[in-house]
């Protein structure tokens, strides 16, 4: 199992698409920094099409004024736990 970390906003479609092609069903996608803009209502539908589980980094989401409805999020300690639970980490930026 791989943890994928994405830190780019939805305006960078290409990074998102490459990341989603590389995601296996059992993988997890962690949205950090500007990647948390994927949680804006306008982008939720596209995000939902990802077959893998999606998690957001809470401090980064809060900083950007994005609402937390219906999503799984972690704090920095939870970020570390995710990296423990996955054999490898791939960063997309």
């Amino acid at each position: 199992m791989t943890l994928h970390i994405l830190n780019t906003s939805p305006s960078d479609r290409n990074t998102f698409l490459s990341c989603s092609h590389a995601l296996a069903e059992e993988d997890v996608l962690l949205l950090i920094e500007d990647g948390t803009y994927w949680l804006l209502p306008h982008h939720r539908a596209e995000l939902a099409r990802i077959p893998a589980r999606v998690v957001a980094l809470s401090p980064d989401r809060q900083a950007r004024g994005i609402e937390a409805e219906n999503l799984i999020e972690v704090d920095d300690a939870g970020f570390v736990e995710l990296t423990v639970k996955h054999e490898r980490v791939v960063s997309w930026f």
């Binding site: 970390i5 830190n7 780019t8 950090i32 920094e33 500007d34 401090p59 980064d60 920095d76 300690a77 970020f79 570390v80 736990e81 990296t83 423990v84 490898r88 980490v89 960063s91 930026f93």
Partner: protein
């Protein structure tokens, strides 16, 4: 080391101000240590070498990321290695490199060490997890 604890290597590609990822890497390092894991090495590459500048002087109401790395390193005896090839190209020099390039001054902050990319590879071999923090072209 607590049971189930892991060994990490962190790779930092961006300078403060260039990308939020410089700050994220620091927060992640703190969280790794707080959880009882260990950090084998923090490796600064590409523009991330500027995290090791002794001359960074932010206004008092802004965070000083190089100073925070130094403090964290002191508290936890962190090994902080700056890629020497990436650093000298970008003007981050220790005393030895300053001498080699005939520069009057040097600017590598205490607690950081210039060394080769082999230190990244070695760190990867010694670690359970390698995490890259990037975010620029």
């Amino acid at each position: 080391m607590v049971q189930g604890s892991m060994i990490y290597t962190l790779v930092v590609h961006s300078a403060p101000y260039q990308s939020a990822s410089a700050g994220t890497a620091l927060r992640f390092a703190r969280a790794v240590l707080a959880a009882g894991h260990s950090i084998h090495r923090v490796f600064f590459y590409r523009d991330g070498v500027h995290n090791a500048s002794a001359l960074v002087s932010p206004p008092r109401d802004e965070q000083n990321i190089p100073a925070q790395w130094q403090q964290l390193a002191q508290e936890h005896d962190l090994d902080m290695v700056v890629c020497i090839a990436a650093a000298v190209r970008r003007g981050v020099l220790d005393a030895a490199e300053a001498k080699r390039y005939e520069k009057a001054n040097h600017n590598l902050a205490d607690g950081f060490e210039l060394s080769g990319l082999g230190q990244l590879i070695e760190a990867g071999l010694q670690s359970d997890r390698v995490i890259t923090f990037g975010g620029q072209r």
